[in-house]
Amino acid sequence: MKIFADLLHSLLYAPQRLVKQAYLVEFIKNTPDPDRGYALSALTGELSIQGVKAGLIRKIAYQKCDPVLFDLSYDFVGDLAETTALIWPNTTRQVSGIRISDIISKLKTANRIDAGTLVQEWLDQLPESQRWALLKLLTGGLRVGVSARMVRLALAQSYQIDVNEIEQIWPLIEPPYLELFNWLDGKADKPDAAGRAVFRPMMLAHPLLESEIAEMDFASFQAEWKWDGARIQLVSGSDGVRIFSRSGDDISGTFPEIAKPLSWHGVIDGELLAGNPNKIGSFQQLQLRLNRKKPSVKMISETPVFMRVYDILFDNNIDVREHPLEYRREVLEAQMKTGLKTCYLDLSPILADASLANLQTWRQQCRAGGLIEGVMLKNKTSSYQAGRIKGSWFKWKRDPLTADLVILYAQRGHGKRSSFFSDFTLGAWGEGSEYDAQTLLPVAKAYSGFTDDELKKLDKFVRENIIQKFGPVREVEKTLVVEIAFDSVQYSKRHKSGIATRFPRFKAIRWDKPARDANSISDLIAMIDI
């Protein structure tokens, strides 16, 4: 556990990605199996330990510490594992040499009650840094600034191989990744995906920056709409059809009407949208389906979904990812007329005449309906590779909407914002709602978009302007106006104000602006475009 704790500590405080990766490489080279695989799976978020959940940790902590003091501490620290590790008293019975693999194998066979006792025992035996590492391992959400991609890059670097090789077999392996390490160490053959319905890592787009526009040769890019749905991958293999989310989660059960056997075998990439190809539904409708693990027959008929396809990775089990986009598009168009011809699949059209002027216009027009978020630009010669590849795919979103809102409530944040008041509920004046024009109604919750320096100032503002406490929530004096950017406004029955904003974030703090001059509900309703 000590080497894992040291690794987490180093990763957390390492200033740059390359330094983090170097720490990972050192760890991979110097740690035995299966401990290294388990540790890495904790970092990629793939480790799941049955029976040990946040509730159990909290219960154990309550037995060691006054619950009131624990809750106040948790509210401040913003992380259950860290709060518990810090608050747990040091004992004199410390033991060294507890291994991750021992911990995992013991917990695998333990029932819930035994698991609680085991965890307590380990916490008593470990110093604070290792208590933290243990609890992080058990509860997940490590927050040390390492992505799954970085772990795979470090693996590739450790063994001097191309990261794409690792990416391709990643969906086939499970923690502690012995199949992978045996192959890397030359003790076994490379794991093979052929013909199996497994997830293939997706290609992602960079946001197009203003500064890049001048240098773009738009003629060499294929333009498409950026659909406002959920990115999915459909894999058809000898063992059936599966649907995967962007992060590789199998969501076939959620969308049985799409995960139906096909005679064609291969992998396609596209957007899941509500409605049907002739009439697209809203993102809100799609959300109803996304939130339901097993939809009822009624729900499937009332809120149908379909897949708008834009790329192909495997065609009849032939890997076409290395071919240029233009070629893949031809293959895809041909298959959409034959093997992929169904009512729940349709093709994302290419936008003709994608000149800068046209793109600019389209970007602004696509606000209507909120079904399109902007435009996609894909280099016609690009191969299909995992991750964000420089210069290959760009997303160019429409400009966000903005409104001046008043801070109503604040709560302490988690992760990098822990211990600061960083989660804000913002309100607009009641004019246009069924409430009094003189009241402020919540319309957004925002916790990003400010700088570290601004965060400190906001935290100070909250601490000095508290008027009431509701558990961890603080009501503040209604004096501070913030300019908030958001993607869209929708009617919402769940909110008192009758509306909800999508992806609200801070744009500017208006220390100068009186609350009276903030926007009203009717201003926001005017921005609804669906």
Partner: protein
């Protein structure tokens, strides 16, 4: 029966009614009793300032020799009277010259501890326990997650990274008054004799500490503002700078700086991580959770008032101990800077 009616909370801070004097007022007043020299407690613009000789000197460095029309220097444990109120300044162990204000009036003794700590500090007089009826405490680190390790152990980490990265300059963010001098003194006590570099903003305060007999060894002001865009090689050296200077051009000009921050906040990992800190040191000039509770017990007060910080938890703990406790919710005092 204790009588506390003579000590009130005003917009400016704690106010001793019969003496017409404020403690650490946050706005200009006629008579101010100052616990210590940190800027949020010792503000400029008061007519008459009562404080320890060290605190008065610190204020003179900060605001110029004529920072008040009248200055009354009161040594530790020297008794004075102000309109019938007996006043004593007692060491608080926070920074050089820091004092608790002990007040006696109407058969009631109240101590306003100001900011204080109980851990060792070679640069100031240690906290003195004095029994009282009402103890007014701060609660900057008033949560049971805060348990500060010994500063000596933390300083060892500094010496270790210096050995580990001989090609990098180790730049330590520390408050110019108190924390900086404490770290220098701790480094000296750990046997480090080489010249330590300091940011210009710390020079006068370091000189002041030396004039009060605190050994800081060989110090040199880091050359700044002289050469444009040229990196200064202070590889393998320790450089102290106020936290505010860490993100500036000043810091960028040092070669491959390793950012260290010394503060009680460094215990909360994600918060430590925020400022781009590579090595967090848990060295605080405030009492941690256990030390606050220990102090409350030792002074044997029957009532505890909490000025600023995480007051909820301290009040809960006091209630559990059977003590009356209340939050004063004073504003205008900063948490320990990072």
């Amino acid at each position: 029966m204790i009588d506390t009616s003579w000590l009130k909370i005003s917009k400016s801070g704690l106010y001793i009614v019969p003496a017409k004097a404020h403690i650490d007022p946050v706005r200009s007043v006629n008579t101010a009793i100052i616990t210590h020299g940190h800027a949020d407690h010792a503000r400029a613009g008061h007519k008459h300032v009562i404080a320890t000789p060290q605190t008065l000197e610190i204020m003179a460095v900060r605001y110029g020799a004529n920072f008040a029309e009248q200055k009354t220097a009161v040594k530790y444990n020297q008794k004075i009277q102000l309109a019938g109120v007996n006043l004593t300044l007692i060491p608080a162990g926070h920074v050089l010259g820091s004092a608790q204000i002990a007040m006696e009036y109407a058969d009631t003794k109240i101590i306003a501890a100001g900011d204080y700590k109980r851990k060792s500090d070679p640069t100031c007089a240690p906290f003195q326990v004095e029994k009282c009826d009402v103890f007014i405490t701060e609660a900057t680190f008033g949560l049971p997650v805060f348990s500060h390790p010994t500063p000596e152990a933390e300083i060892q980490k500094l010496l270790e990274v210096q050995q580990l990265f001989p090609e990098r300059s180790v730049i330590i963010g520390a408050y110019s008054l108190g924390k900086a001098q404490r770290i220098i003194a701790l480094l000296r006590a750990a046997g480090y004799e080489d010249t330590i570099f300091i940011h210009g903003a710390m020079k006068k305060l370091c000189e002041l500490y030396v004039s009060f007999g605190i050994e800081l060894g060989s110090l040199q002001t880091t050359p700044i503002g002289r050469i444009d865009n040229q990196q200064i090689s202070l590889a393998n050296k320790f450089i102290l700078a106020p936290p505010s200077a860490m993100g500036t051009k000043w810091a960028q000009r040092l070669c491959d700086p390793l950012i260290v921050s010394a503060s009680g906040w460094m215990q909360v990992r994600q918060r430590a991580k925020q400022g781009g800190v590579e090595l967090p040191l848990v060295i605080s000039d405030h009492a941690d959770w256990n030390d606050i509770l220990r102090t409350i017990k030792e002074v044997e007060a029957s009532e505890v008032w909490v000025t600023h910080g995480r007051e909820d938890a301290i009040i809960h703990a006091c209630t559990q101990m059977g003590l009356a406790a209340k939050a004063l919710s004073l504003i205008g005092y900063e948490d320990e800077s990072e």
